[in-house]
């Protein structure tokens, strides 16, 4: 061996370049699309920069008024009813003290204090559940919807601990055992034992040009639209009415507003 330092460095440098450039090209191939066709959005899909919901609780007279909404949501998404503390909740009711524990205004009228309020995933701008998910099974989409990919969920329940609103439910049992056979909506999948689930803001309905199931069932008592668009119905409603959000001090920036 009679190699000069100079020739060794030349060879080493060239090899390093060849290896790394080859690696870069290979990694590009590895991520290539499998299908020979193309992907696109449906022509009739509804778009928004940031979806949001405004619930006009003044127009609901009592808990009974929310029943058809819950029924519409749960039957569309095949959400089972399990009669104990392992129930699955997408849209549910709770009392003022539990919904707005900050209790910002001390002397509210008794009606507001004694009413039941509808609860669902707030689709936060800063969702803690997304930050803690170790598998990216839950993620925030460009339109502000916090979505779930049940295929990836490993059932660690970090998201349930992270969510300050209790909007996530864990399937302790096989949900199909608590659903009718055939399921209420055969067009929509169920979930399986061991995954976490929650409200999806009906992303699958928006994709085909339909409003969310609860909004449709509410006949105008719940508004749904783009929070970034000053002319949208939700922004108009927020501009002309007093609204509150759940636990605003946490900084999660919920996308669900309550008119009280």
């Amino acid at each position: 061996m009679n190699k000069s330092r100079r020739s060794f460095l030349k060879v080493a440098g060239f090899s390093a370049f060849a290896l790394t450039s080859g690696m870069a090209a290979l990694s590009g191939v590895a991520q290539a699309q499998i299908a020979p066709g193309k992907y696109e959005r449906a022509a009739n899909a509804l778009h928004a920069k940031r979806w949001g919901m405004v619930i006009d609780t003044r127009q609901f007279k009592g808990p009974e008024d929310y029943k058809p909404l819950i029924q519409a949501c749960h039957s569309f998404h095949n959400v089972p009813h399990i009669p104990d503390n392992q129930d699955i909740k997408w849209l549910w009711l709770d009392s003022y003290a539990h919904v707005f524990p900050d209790d910002m205004n001390a002397h509210l009228n008794t009606h507001t204090r004694e009413s039941m309020y509808p609860l669902l995933c707030n689709h936060c701008t800063n969702p803690p559940c997304v930050r803690v998910c170790p598998t990216q099974a839950t993620y925030k989409m460009d339109d502000g919807i916090v979505a779930m990919d049940y295929h990836r969920c490993i059932g660690c329940r970090f998201c349930m601990a992270g969510c300050p609103y209790g909007a996530r439910s864990f399937n302790f049992k096989d949900p199909r055992k608590f659903l009718a056979n055939p399921v209420p909506n055969p067009e929509y999948p169920t979930r399986m034992i061991g995954v976490v689930e929650k409200c999806t803001f009906c992303a699958e309905r928006l994709a085909v040009g339909q409003m969310p199931a609860c909004v449709e069932a509410a006949n105008g008592k719940i508004l749904f639209g783009d929070l970034e668009d000053p002319n949208s119905t939700v922004r108009q409603a927020l501009a002309t009415n007093y609204s509150i959000r759940r636990k605003p001090s946490l900084g999660t920036q919920p996308g669900v507003y309550y008119l009280i």
Binding site: I34, A35, P36, E40, R41, A45, P182
Partner: protein, 126 residues
């Protein structure tokens, strides 16, 4: 060579045993097709048969990620035809016979996909 007889017999036995899988397969049965039942009245799948056979599982994974994460819920096939991305509402509308289509091939190949713990198999086929 010492013990030439024993050594040669040994070699012959070894070669025969070593190559036995080839002999057995030559004598044995031919490859049997899984005998899956194709959907009646449908001529074409979204892509050609070879691609669907080889890659349908990867295609489904890709469909899942495109639909759920990128909101791309329409697939434009090479033929130009548009398909709604949905296992339950697109694939299973034609491939409605789970027992004779999906299961037969999966069983023959020893794979056990857990699609059906969530996605709903068409009624009357399981």
């Amino acid at each position: 060579m010492y013990n030439a007889k024993a050594v040669i017999v040994g070699i012959v036995i070894f070669v025969a045993l070593f190559t036995s899988p080839f002999w057995l397969s030559m004598m044995g049965q031919d490859y049997k097709s899984t005998g899956i039942e194709l959907p009646k009245g449908e001529k074409e799948c979204i892509e050609d048969v070879q691609f669907m056979r080889d890659q349908h599982m990867r295609l489904l994974n890709e469909w899942r990620d495109e639909a759920l994460r990128k909101e791309n819920r329409v697939y434009v096939a090479t033929s130009g035809k548009k398909w709604n991305i949905s296992l339950q509402n697109t694939c299973l509308k034609c491939h409605s016979n789970y027992k004779e289509f999906c299961e037969k091939c999966h069983t023959a190949n020893g794979v056990d996909p857990y699609c059906w713990t969530c996605h709903i198999i068409p009624q009357g086929s399981k």
